[in-house]
Subunit: 396 residues, 4 copies
Amino acid sequence: MNTEALFSALDRQRIETPSWGYGNSGTRFKTFAAPGAARDVYEKIEDAAEVHRLSGIAPSVALHIPWDAVSDYGELRAFAESRGVTLGAINPNVFQDDRYRLGSVTHPDPAVREQALAHLLACVEILRQTGSRDLSLWFADGTNYAGQDDLRARKRRLRDALARVHDALPDGARLLLEYKLFEPAFYATDAFDWGAALAHCVAVGERAQVLVDLGHHAPGVNIEQIVAFLLDEGRLGGFHFNARRYADDDLIVGTANPFELFCIYAELVSAETAADPLVRDTARAVAYMIDQSHNIEPKVEAMLQSVLNCQEAYAKALLIDRERLEEAQQAGDVLEAHRTLTDAFRTDVRPLLAEWRRARGLPEDPIRAHRVSGYAERVARERGVAAASGGFPVHS
Amino acid sequence: MNTEALFSALDRQRIETPSWGYGNSGTRFKTFAAPGAARDVYEKIEDAAEVHRLSGIAPSVALHIPWDAVSDYGELRAFAESRGVTLGAINPNVFQDDRYRLGSVTHPDPAVREQALAHLLACVEILRQTGSRDLSLWFADGTNYAGQDDLRARKRRLRDALARVHDALPDGARLLLEYKLFEPAFYATDAFDWGAALAHCVAVGERAQVLVDLGHHAPGVNIEQIVAFLLDEGRLGGFHFNARRYADDDLIVGTANPFELFCIYAELVSAETAADPLVRDTARAVAYMIDQSHNIEPKVEAMLQSVLNCQEAYAKALLIDRERLEEAQQAGDVLEAHRTLTDAFRTDVRPLLAEWRRARGLPEDPIRAHRVSGYAERVARERGVAAASGGFPVHS
Amino acid sequence: MNTEALFSALDRQRIETPSWGYGNSGTRFKTFAAPGAARDVYEKIEDAAEVHRLSGIAPSVALHIPWDAVSDYGELRAFAESRGVTLGAINPNVFQDDRYRLGSVTHPDPAVREQALAHLLACVEILRQTGSRDLSLWFADGTNYAGQDDLRARKRRLRDALARVHDALPDGARLLLEYKLFEPAFYATDAFDWGAALAHCVAVGERAQVLVDLGHHAPGVNIEQIVAFLLDEGRLGGFHFNARRYADDDLIVGTANPFELFCIYAELVSAETAADPLVRDTARAVAYMIDQSHNIEPKVEAMLQSVLNCQEAYAKALLIDRERLEEAQQAGDVLEAHRTLTDAFRTDVRPLLAEWRRARGLPEDPIRAHRVSGYAERVARERGVAAASGGFPVHS
Amino acid sequence: MNTEALFSALDRQRIETPSWGYGNSGTRFKTFAAPGAARDVYEKIEDAAEVHRLSGIAPSVALHIPWDAVSDYGELRAFAESRGVTLGAINPNVFQDDRYRLGSVTHPDPAVREQALAHLLACVEILRQTGSRDLSLWFADGTNYAGQDDLRARKRRLRDALARVHDALPDGARLLLEYKLFEPAFYATDAFDWGAALAHCVAVGERAQVLVDLGHHAPGVNIEQIVAFLLDEGRLGGFHFNARRYADDDLIVGTANPFELFCIYAELVSAETAADPLVRDTARAVAYMIDQSHNIEPKVEAMLQSVLNCQEAYAKALLIDRERLEEAQQAGDVLEAHRTLTDAFRTDVRPLLAEWRRARGLPEDPIRAHRVSGYAERVARERGVAAASGGFPVHS
């Protein structure tokens, strides 16, 4: 791939950052309050705009409802645009109301299910107002003990809710269904893996697609293969990027196993030029989103690092010599094929990315630019240290 | 459930034992030759018949081709029937020919793919001759290194082969697709999990169903939930029973985590009386098969133990107080629901099973009956110690 | 074992419940406020006393400092005794102060380390006042990213702190060092496994022993083997009992895999009568403690269930026919040895335990006795629903 | 680090290749016969010499007894030296004799234990004759079923054997104890993890050290932390390098997660210049050995790739800016510390390594040099295709 084509591909890359990544977050043991952590949706948007200003590839911000609920979404949209970003995926929250102790859309009590569904439908309405394309659904629903509830009944309740939400979507909108092996449910999670998510999506309609969160798999699972499978079925809708070693660790994407991130991008780049138009169109419509929990790192710098790690992985994937790769694969030349892939991974793309940034009027070293900009110090001064609860029991 | 209904349910239980479980087997490090291990398909059938004679619930034996290939399947069938058992599922082998080093039906070379397909179709013909219902497909196909082959291309090759086999099946026959996370492929296995298997089955036709091997999942995966999901989709075809703690350990079923086996049976028992006829019919047609690798245990006793462990798990699952369970589930009474399930598990069903056996003219304690029967000593004397080289049955 | 000996063994069983198990707790996503959850240490002690009243084997309660800090520990001790229980292990908290963001005793800043050490030493003083035997140490210390800190330096800082705490212990007191694979640290946890804990304990002195929390291991790890190894080295100090399937799920002990709990008790029972006095004495001094996080279950009933599950596992372990077991092991009779173990597991010990309870004046069915006692309703009425925070960002 | 120092460090690197890596090997399902696979120890040594000729850093070859047993080790040594390599670690085999079905040194039968011990002591004698420094011990010993044998008794038998071997070592020799989570034992492996291995080594004497095989851990386990811990205790003896994703996959080192290999080398490089002489000396004496099972790859090329992957990881680790790293760590600058580490990993060291090779008279691109050399074709022609049965090297 020549530099022009490469730069042009880099120009098209988009990484959406999540509003909730700019506020305080923590583990069940403790939320450490970060100086300058965003306190409301406006501050979150400002932080997202800073990440976009420095990276050039993070032009939208995902919202979480009700955390980011406002009375006037038109005004919020205008605010975001005034800061140079747009509003992205809408993420309903059906896991923090007291009634959701035993589930939301899969709760044994139909009244609770209706409450959850009403919230999801309200989020569809917000999506209409924000002009967002994607409704991103994650359900904490599940059980902690064998026998606690009927697994097949819960499956059917989930499908029913998905169908109703799917049918309420405006034209052009998509339902992205996220799956997760466990947490907060510790026996069975209702949307437990990509296979369950795919079956649900196929059942409820064309506009339902699967969302892959890199931290939601069992140990050893080959995520790039799931990505390839879903692309081939035309059902990969998007990503929640982060890094993990153990469970849903929610660390900065690309930090635990950069080769895995590269392999995932290698499948995406391959699919973008696939012969089958379904695969190609699916790949090009994938929503790339960060979903991390920065518990000990500076929020904005951590998010910026995440976006840059995605850029680096993508750039390396673009450098794969596809012709040589296919030739080796066809010949059954195991090691030459593997080396062709890893040659791209071994390449240091930092100079190339610096050049791309220079050419686009972006800071060559966005991290350094952020560090010297005084942004972190300014928001710490202006916003102070928001009270952070979390961690049980609360230490007073 | 009253004793009569319980006994009647126990009467319907069927566990198929595998011919290959009676011969020598091992790990990659060593095959320890067992005195009296069956040397050919006739001896394997005799061992299977012994297990059925003692247990009363293992009336069929699965075949592995070419390990069990004979020139006249009608004669083999008659032989089996003369021993009191029938021929069960046909298991093709497309992993031990030298040409399959890089795969069989997903191999990059179309000539190898055709060879593998030809073997599968030959097995369909054998299935016709043996009168078997199920063609049980496991593919070792996969890759060891990232980049070694194209993941999407391999997926399409697999689907193509499955479609062709499916369409060649005689009326009433089924294709059971087994999945496996890894081994012998260590980067990506083409049929890697239940979700991939389900998508393939749905794509190729009505008579394709998923086969669940208890040892083929990633750590932590909730197998009974997969079972429930597949039952609800009408796509659970059968089981390969065994036990695992680490990988595909292939130990005696029920020995590593008896509670898990019970929970799996609890889903099956529940589905057998489901309101939805699709679920009910699916559950009643499930093929229960053992697939183990007895490396250090006496073959026949190990198989007998496996069958008895399944019987015990099934009996406990039959004892679940479904009414009380559903009531607690509906009420959101987490602990009462869990206790209702575990009360059945806690019950010692050995006296009840002894009674059932007495009533059926079976030995009350089949293990003891086997031990005192002299069967093991006799076959050791008659068959001797077959030469065993390293690893799994040598392909000659 | 005859009934008398069995009952006498059951009389000696002791399960300590944790004060924090009676208050509200949750996951990082949400703490659901439980009606009647204990709001302070006095209410926690009352709940613990209720569990002891019903079970007869939970006579002490572990404290967590500063959650349970009071100005007068003599008075607290008297309060506990007035309720029929005693104060148990002291658990310092060095993970919830804002300064502990990057660690406590392993923090790169010596000032933070000293603060943490001061708290540990203050807890030694509390231990003196409460008359407790065990100081139970768990450190959240660790890192989230490769390179974040020097692994060897952190190891040395941990050892130094342990040595200083060890040397400050009063006569007869013990330091129990808990290990954990991950969470809240997601790259490296300083006290990461039993091997690290054992090496530290051996280095710092005779009164340091390892504490095994059932939820703190990697997938597949054989916990009963670790228990056997530590017993044999004279370094098993105690347990934090709970159940897990995925990570540190902190569910009711015995609910995820009751056979594992039984196998652990089988090792303990075996060690209690070992020929080697070191092993025997170690086994007899083991501290059995619950450490769970009841997020969706009624607190007191969940704890009572936990205690009863331990009793059941212990009773089954007592029933193992040790002579037959050893004989089969010596003979290399794999299946007979395994069956001897599982015969005890298969036994339904509920009637026997009911008889033991009757003989001790305890309710035959403690769960039912608790349910009809009105205790839960009374404390819900009296205590109300304590505000529960937790879950990030806070939903307001 | 300047180029001179870097080159000088690269000059000191040594990777030992295993004789068994040049012969046919496979999984339990199949051994695919490789054209030209070495048929005896002389051919294995020739292959090892070829790898050393091309890489310059693989000057020794590990032996496996009895696979590589000869009548005259002096002659074998001379043969190796004539080919430009030396004989390395001696690896006894106590897992392929029929009597080892239930264990070797931990077998319940003392006669079997003595047989195993005699083999170990015979290997000590071979070590004396070959002039090797390290006796590398791996035990397949373990159990498949709970209750099969007494865990504490087996632990004591293992320790006893280790002590006797340790005491028989000649001056300057070391016992390296390898641990493994599972396989071929599937319930409990006697030397099951690094903690068990460390405790045994400390107990038996100064010359016993732990050997880390990268494929022998549970999922998620942080290997570089174990490496750091063992270095700090002065007990890291050596490595068996390979790559894994699932179990003991035994793939080419560095192919599954190159960042992990880099992090391991980062700890080793750091320890080589530690202030504590024990740590420094330990690090400098570490034995770096490959232990892989090339089932589908060309043998010599696969081994060469392995050696080069180690060189690349080591070179990157040498490039870490230690001063900047320590400064960031001390300052608690999480992201800057992590970036300092990953900056070295991101660096493309291929040009630098090509330069080092040029300067040493080695082929700049050893893989290409090997491919054009005709070596593979020549040995295929000369050696033919050795008969390969199923599974790992057949014990004859």
